[in-house]
């Protein structure tokens, strides 16, 4: 009888598959130090050299029905001592997911990543950049979406309906790194009269042929990247973000061999740009790509460390009118992974502009300590900027950043 009861209890537990609930996240202290005092470009701004801030990201996850149904909630908050725009919160995720046989449904606020290259992420278009977080465009704002995915033998189809648009975040007037003209995110404008309520659509087909994996995608709707329009606000030269409607076709592909990875991202976009000669918006089309390779030297100098070498070419056919910083550039990256118990790693990246002869250098290093803590160092240098280019404003903005984080 006893065994019967316990086996009954066990089978009940297995059948109803009790909900799993998990909390995880981090608390982080960030120190940013700018090597040069600010350029006195904007009146009434009081930029600093040292910017401390704190941030936290907390996630709650629960699933039931054998993990077929789940809810994920993730919130983010940063408090910056000087930059009021960088003091911000975001609901990164809040979605319900249902998986049934070969179908997957996702409803709510979520994040999606597309693409393969390292230097820039042209194809990745669903989520808006949380650009005030960092200049590498790897932090994203939560995107409201309805996603349906179907897995077939030949590949996977994803279809998206995106009912609400998120504006890109920009630093405030007292924030750094600063560009020549201040971008005022309070004066955003749209091509569509529906503004943020315009419904965007996207779809992606992902498949593979042996060791070649590829994705074909299309996006139609409000551009995540704004066109920056010149405007005088409070007698200051200001740029304001304008979000046109756009259509983009994209391809991302990676060929993996035993030692080499070959990567390609290619986009073609129907867009608008600001013509300074006519002083108005004009329709335009452009093509941009990132193509390159990655090679890893395993066990350098008879140690356990690996050294990865990444080289990528970045191209944009808009040339000098490009709103993209990378119109004819080469990126060289060196990634060192120590493979030790603290997961110590470092990444050195150099981007060289072959038109303007400019160089941007970044160094990122990370390791774990005391089990639940990480220390992350980041340095960025914008040396040798050309007065003709958009990055010229960054010439005094070299900085060093240290993040100390506790993870749970």
């Amino acid at each position: 009888m006893k065994t019967r009861i316990s086996s009954l209890l066990i089978s009940t537990l297995i059948c109803s598959s009790p909900a799993v609930a998990e909390w995880s996240g981090n608390f982080s202290l960030q120190n940013r130090y700018f090597f040069h005092s600010p350029l006195p470009l904007i009146e009434d701004s009081s930029q600093e050299q040292y910017y401390p801030s704190v941030s936290s990201e907390v996630e709650y996850y629960t699933d039931w029905d054998n993990q077929d149904r789940s809810i994920t909630i993730k919130g983010f908050l940063r408090l910056d001592q000087y930059d009021v725009e960088r003091t911000h919160g975001d609901l990164r995720e809040f979605y319900y997911q249902y998986v049934f046989t070969d179908w997957e449904l996702r409803m709510g606020i979520s994040k999606v990543y597309w693409g393969v290259t390292e230097a820039q992420h042209l194809v990745d278009i669903i989520n808006q950049n949380d650009a005030v977080e960092n200049i590498d465009n790897e932090d994203k704002l939560g995107q409201p979406m309805f996603m349906l995915s179907r897995e077939l033998d030949s590949g996977t189809v994803n279809v998206f309906v995106l009912p609400y648009f998120r504006e890109r975040t920009f630093k405030g007037i007292d924030g750094r790194p600063a560009t020549t003209s201040f971008i005022d995110s309070n004066f955003a404008s749209y091509e569509s009269s529906k503004e943020q309520k315009h419904i965007d659509y996207a779809a992606r087909w992902f498949s593979y042929l042996d060791d070649l994996e590829y994705g074909l995608s299309v996006f139609s709707g409000t551009s995540r990247e704004p066109v920056l329009l010149p405007r005088i606000i409070n007698s200051n030269n200001t740029l304001t973000p304008y979000y046109p409607q756009m259509t983009q076709f994209a391809l991302d592909a990676q060929l993996t061999t035993e030692e080499w990875l070959y990567k390609l991202e290619l986009i073609h976009r129907d867009w608008q740009q600001f013509d300074f000669n006519q002083f108005k918006l004009v329709d335009t089309r452009f093509t941009a790509l990132t193509a390159g390779f990655e090679y890893t030297i395993v066990g350098i100098m008879q140690s356990y460390a690996d050294l990865g070498i990444v080289m990528e070419y970045l191209y944009d056919d808009r040339d000098h009118e490009s709103t993209n910083l990378f119109q004819n550039d080469v990126m060289l990256g060196l990634r060192l992974a120590m493979n030790d118990s603290d997961s110590s790693e470092a990444l050195l990246g150099i981007i060289y502009d072959m038109d303007y002869y400019e160089r941007a250098v970044s160094l990122e290093a990370k390791r774990r300590f005391m089990g639940n803590w990480t220390a992350e160092l980041e340095a960025r240098f914008f040396s040798n900027t050309n007065s003709q280019s958009i990055t010229h404003g960054l010439r005094h903005e070299d900085f060093l950043q240290l993040d100390l984080s506790y993870h749970f």
Binding site: K111, Y304, D342, S343
Partner: protein, 266 residues
């Protein structure tokens, strides 16, 4: 016996015989080694799928420890290497990171990594099989599925190891980027399961020893050890894997082991 065979002829005949016999003996040992490996593999065939939880304890020379918790799912693939999914629960900063591996007998393995902060699935080069798995003393090739074709074999001797009768066989990795020249494996004669493995590095110097403890039999067939201990003789570091909650035949399918399920891995 009427033939008057000269001593020199006798001598050369003996040499010829010896020359014929030595390769035959080598071939015998190779065949016997392969036979033992094949039987070991045969007895572990048919588990279909397996899930388990693992705690890794990394210990350095000074005795300081570091732990990681990993959940592992394996799908048996007939006629090829298994498919495996690993989900990392700790350290907290990499929580939610997952890796998917399709191991193959002769082709290089295919491997993907899921990075939860970026929501990015990355196909990675499978070349670094000799590299440490999560900073431990286990290399990727030590924990990946052990297919017969991944090695060539040689029977060495019979030996009693801690009171257990074992075959000692030597195996040589067929994979050109392996971190080892050879491995010496002690296989339980009765149950055909490994009890101990000595790993020799690229310079043929003893690098590590793996020992299996607390074997238990599941479904009246499959032996799994509760504790696996790897000691690095060159650095003095060690890693102990403690296994829990082995579950066989969970009804997992190919769709639990693809890029989409990797993104959803929990």
């Amino acid at each position: 016996m009427k033939f008057n065979i000269s001593t020199s002829l006798k001598y050369s005949l003996a040499i010829t015989l010896n020359l014929l016999l030595i390769p035959a003996a080598i071939a015998d040992d190779a065949a016997r080694g392969l036979e033992i490996a094949t039987e070991t593999d045969r007895r572990d065939t048919g588990f279909i799928d397996l899930t388990a939880e693992m705690v890794m304890e990394l210990k350095n020379k000074q005795g300081q420890t570091n732990t990681r918790q990993v959940r592992v799912k394996t799908l048996e693939v007939e006629g090829d290497g298994d498919k495996g999914l690993s989900i990392f629960d700790t350290p907290a900063d990499i929580k939610g990171t997952a890796s998917l591996t399709y191991s193959h007998a002769l082709k290089p393995d295919e491997q993907w990594l899921y990075l939860p902060a970026l929501k990015r699935v990355k196909r990675i080069s499978s070349k670094n099989k000799s590299g440490p798995f999560m900073g431990s003393e286990f290399a990727y090739e030590d924990i990946s599925s052990q297919e017969i074709e991944k090695y060539t074999y040689k029977y060495i001797k019979d030996e009693t190891l801690n009171g257990i009768d074992t075959f000692v066989i030597e195996r040589y990795p067929a994979y050109k980027f392996s971190g080892y020249t050879r491995q010496l494996v002690w296989i339980n004669k009765k149950e055909y399961r490994p009890e101990k493995i000595d790993f020799y590095d690229r310079k043929n110097v003893l690098l590590k020893t793996l020992t299996y403890h607390g074997y238990q039999q599941y479904l009246n067939q499959f032996w799994r050890s509760d504790v696996m201990k790897m000691v690095n003789h060159q650095t003095g570091k060690s890693t102990t894997l403690t296994w829990k909650n082995y579950q066989f035949k969970n009804g997992l399918t190919d769709s639990d082991f693809n890029r989409n399920s990797l993104k959803r891995a929990r």
